[in-house]
């Protein structure tokens, strides 16, 4: 699909979904993309009353392990949207 290099084996979209799902149980998570670049949409009641920064930080913290190191499976999050719901 792309020449993005990573040692990660498996479905990156599913890994992102699982990571966010375990941090925010009950959230609805949509992930698309590939080749290191992903778009993520998360809907959760947890975001109620939180700023965009705080909401996005929750999501980023959940997937930080997929974005760190030299050859991470997630190179960039092209778009991240958080909705209360």
């Amino acid at each position: 699909m792309s020449d993005h290099s990573t040692d990660f084996q498996g479905d990156v979209c599913a890994a992102i979904r699982d990571a966010i799902g375990s941090k925010l149980p009950g959230a609805s998570v949509e992930v698309s993309g590939g080749g290191g670049h992903y778009s993520i949409g998360v809907t959760s009641p947890e975001f109620a009353g939180k700023s965009m920064l705080a909401s996005q930080r929750i999501v980023y913290t959940a997937i930080a392990h997929l974005m760190g190191g030299d050859r991470p499976p997630v190179h960039a999050v092209d778009s991240l949207t958080t909705k209360v719901g």
Binding site: M52, L53, Q56, R57, Y60, A64, G68, A76, S79
Partner: protein, 307 residues
Amino acid sequence: MPLTDRQRAEFDKLVRSHQTLLFMKGNRNFPQCGFSATVIGILNKVTSGYETVNILEDPAVREGMKEFSSWPTFPQLYVKGEFVGGCDIVKAMYASGELQKLFGGAAEPTKPPNVIITPAAAKAFAGAVAEAGGDVLRLEIDAGYDCDLHVGPKAAGDVEVASNGVTLYVERGSASRADGIGIDFVEGPKGAGFKITNPNAPARVKPIEPKELKALLDAGRVELFDVRPESERARASIAAARKLDGEGQRYLLGLKKETPVALHCHHGMRSRAAAEELVREGFTTVYNLEGGIEAWSNEVDPAVPHY
């Protein structure tokens, strides 16, 4: 890896070292990633007094700041020692006027850009918007002048413009880059599609196919140069191409900057790099022969040998 207390104190000192500090890829004049370039473009509109840290030059800062900010990506904007956010947040705050307030200014009303949508494009959009269920036609133009024209939800701060009965929502940070833009819908040999002409976009290397180049050469409307060394020219060459030895370079650099010039090599890679340099030199119309002399031999002149 968690930061030690001492590292944390050092990063705390770093983020407080300037009123406004952007951790980014590249620097202010040469951002090396689109997200960093977008934030620089916005910062330039709200303040001139900011400093940047190029995280590509310092792996310890790069890894450490991810941890320190609890934010795994760059750019990261700090104002008065507080983390403001990354690209999305800076864009949203600029659109809502919050960012301007942070820098002590008021959100100035954004001048709606002058946009021309041709009747053909208007017709194509009408169908798309009718099926979109509340979504709107939006245009975003990033700092590299890449246009993103899409149907999607309206965003806060979008600037509304209309042309030929079509309403277009222009992302606020893109408005000045969109002024004078033309959107057309054309049918060509490779299918139908929107064609956007933006007079604000800087000159770029234009790819050209062998047959198109032949037509321009025949009409005397382009100067062609061969960037390959003599050893390769001896094996195969295009008669109309001038070699770029010392004399050729003097001739090229002596041309008026408005003269259309084309470059070729074996497969089109080396000439592309050279063409980009010519654009930086100020040449306004620079073509790169896609596929190089190999493609020329296949499509225009089979008498030119392959090698």
